[in-house]
C-alpha cells in the first residue's frame, strides 16, 4: 500500500519536473495544471457526458448546473483578462458553419456511445476503463483524419468568426454570456426532478477548481484549455513516423500547424495538459483503497464499435472546432458564438446517442454460474 502510494505520488511530482527540465517552466506548469484537471475530474467525479445523459434520462440537473457554474466563473475572469491583454492571451473563437454544426451533433451522439467526451475519454482511460482506452486510440486517429478534411468541411458554408465581445463589447459580451448561462440554469432547474436540482458540495468544489485550473491554463499557455488539437497532433506525428507526407495537407501545411508538427510535443500546450490529465486520473484511481471493478465486459463486436465511435468522436470534434472542452467550455467562457451553437447541436446529438447506446453496447454474456 505504502509503496504503491509513494510510486503514484512520485509519478505526479516527477512529470511536471520532467517538463520543466526538458522544455522549460511553461511546460512544467502545464503538465501540473493537466494533472490538476485529472485529479479534480476523476477525484470529484466532475464530467460532461454523464450530466448530459442524466438530465435527459433521470431528470437530474445537478451535474449540468455545475458545468454552467464553472463556465460562468471562467467567463467572469477571462473576459476582462482577454480585453486587457489581447496581445498575450487569445480566446477560443471559431466560425459557425454547416460542417461545424454537423460535427457537434455527431460528437454529441458519439460521446454517449463511448460514455465519455474529450476530457472524459482521457479521464476514463487514465482511470482504467477499457472502453475509455479503446476510445482514446480511436479519438487520436479520428481527430487526425478530421484535420485532413477540415478545409473541405469549412468550405461547405460558413459564417465569419463571431464573438460576443465583437457583437456587444467586452462588458456587454460578459453580461450576455452570464445571462445565457443563467437562463440555461433556470431551464435545467425547471426540467429537473425535485431533489435533483441543487448540486452537492462536491460538485460546487469541482466547478470552482475546474474554473481555477482553466484560468491558470489561460494565464500560463496564453490560450484556453483544449484537447482535440493535441490528440490530432499525436495522430499526425504517428502518421508522419509511419512515412506519411503531410506537406500536401492544407491543415498541416499551415505554418502554425507545421511548426507544431516538427516541434516536440513538450512545446504543444494542449498535449501537455492532456498528458497531465491522464496522469492525474491514473493517480486518483491508484490512490483509492479500492480502484473499483473493471468496466462491464462487452461483446467483441461492441469493442470494435467503441473504437469506431472513438474515431467518429475525434473526427467530429475536429469538424466542430473542438470538443466539450475546446468548443463548449472554452468557447462559451471566452465569448465565442460557436460555443453556444456547439452546445445546442451537441445536446441534440447526445439525445440521439442515448437511444443508440443500448443497441450498440451489448454486455457480454455472463459465464454460467456467475453472479449477475
Amino acid at each position: 500500500m505504502f509503496l504503491r502510494r509513494a510510486f503514484v505520488i512520485a509519478l505526479i511530482l516527477f512529470a511536471p519536473l520532467f517538463g520543466l527540465v526538458m522544455a522549460g517552466p511553461r511546460a512544467g506548469l502545464l503538465i501540473a495544471i493537466g494533472i490538476g484537471f485529472g485529479l479534480v475530474l476523476e477525484g470529484l467525479r466532475f464530467g460532461f457526458a454523464g450530466p448530459w445523459r442524466m438530465i435527459v434520462a433521470e431528470r437530474d440537473g445537478r451535474g449540468l448546473l455545475a458545468q454552467f457554474l464553472a463556465i460562468g466563473l471562467v467567463a467572469s475572469v477571462a473576459f476582462p483578462l482577454l480585453a486587457a491583454h489581447g496581445g498575450e492571451l487569445s480566446p477560443a473563437h471559431a466560425p459557425i458553419g454547416l460542417g461545424m454544426v454537423l460535427g457537434a451533433f455527431v460528437f454529441g451522439a458519439a460521446m454517449q456511445l463511448v460514455m465519455g467526451c474529450g476530457s472524459g475519454t482521457l479521464v476514463n482511460a487514465g482511470s482504467g476503463n477499457l472502453v475509455g482506452l479503446i476510445a482514446l486510440l480511436g479519438f487520436i486517429g479520428g481527430s487526425f483524419a478530421g484535420s485532413l478534411h477540415l478545409g473541405w468541411w469549412t468550405g461547405l458554408a460558413s459564417l465569419p468568426v463571431l464573438s460576443l465581445q465583437g457583437l456587444f463589447g467586452a462588458n456587454g459580451g460578459l453580461v450576455v454570456t452570464l445571462a445565457g448561462l443563467a437562463a440555461l440554469a433556470a431551464l435545467v432547474i425547471w426540467r429537473a426532478a425535485p431533489g435533483k436540482r441543487l448540486p452537492p458540495v462536491r460538485l460546487w468544489w469541482a466547478a470552482a477548481l475546474i474554473a481555477a485550473l482553466a484560468l491558470a491554463n489561460l494565464v500560463v499557455a496564453g490560450q484556453p484549455w483544449g484537447i482535440v488539437y493535441g490528440l490530432g497532433l499525436w495522430g499526425a506525428k504517428i502518421a508522419q513516423a509511419g512515412g506519411a507526407d503531410l506537406a500536401a495537407s492544407g491543415f498541416w501545411a499551415n505554418p502554425g500547424n507545421a511548426e507544431r508538427l516538427n516541434a516536440s510535443l513538450l512545446t504543444d500546450v494542449t498535449s501537455l495538459t492532456s498528458i497531465g490529465l491522464v496522469l492525474g486520473a491514473f493517480a486518483v484511481m491508484r490512490l483509492r483503497a479500492n480502484p473499483g471493478a473493471p468496466a462491464q465486459a462487452l461483446t467483441a463486436r461492441s469493442y470494435v464499435l467503441v473504437l469506431l465511435a472513438g474515431l467518429v468522436l475525434g473526427y467530429s470534434a475536429r469538424m466542430a472546432f473542438g470538443c466539450n472542452v475546446g468548443a463548449f467550455f472554452s468557447g462559451i467562457s471566452t465569448g465565442s458564438l460557436h460555443g453556444w451553437v456547439w452546445l445546442a447541436a451537441a445536446f441534440a446529438g447526445s439525445t440521439l446517442g442515448l437511444k443508440l447506446r443500448p443497441v450498440i453496447l451489448r454486455p457480454a454474456a455472463q459465464p454460467k454460474g456467475a453472479f449477475a
Partner: protein, 58 residues
Amino acid sequence: MTLSTLPRQIVGLGAVALVGLILALDLAATGTPDLFDAPSALALGSGQAPSGAHCTAQ
C-alpha cells in the same frame, strides 16, 4: 484473464504507457526542445503573442 476482465490498474497503466510511448517516440524523432528558446513561465505579462495551437485552429 480476458481483455474485458483486465483490472483497472492494468488498463490505467496501459493508458499511461501509451502516453509515455507517444512522447518517447516523439522525442526520438524531434529531439529535445532548446531550453534557450523556451517561452517564459506565464504567457500573461510576457509581452509575446500566444504561439500555441488550439482546437479552434484552422
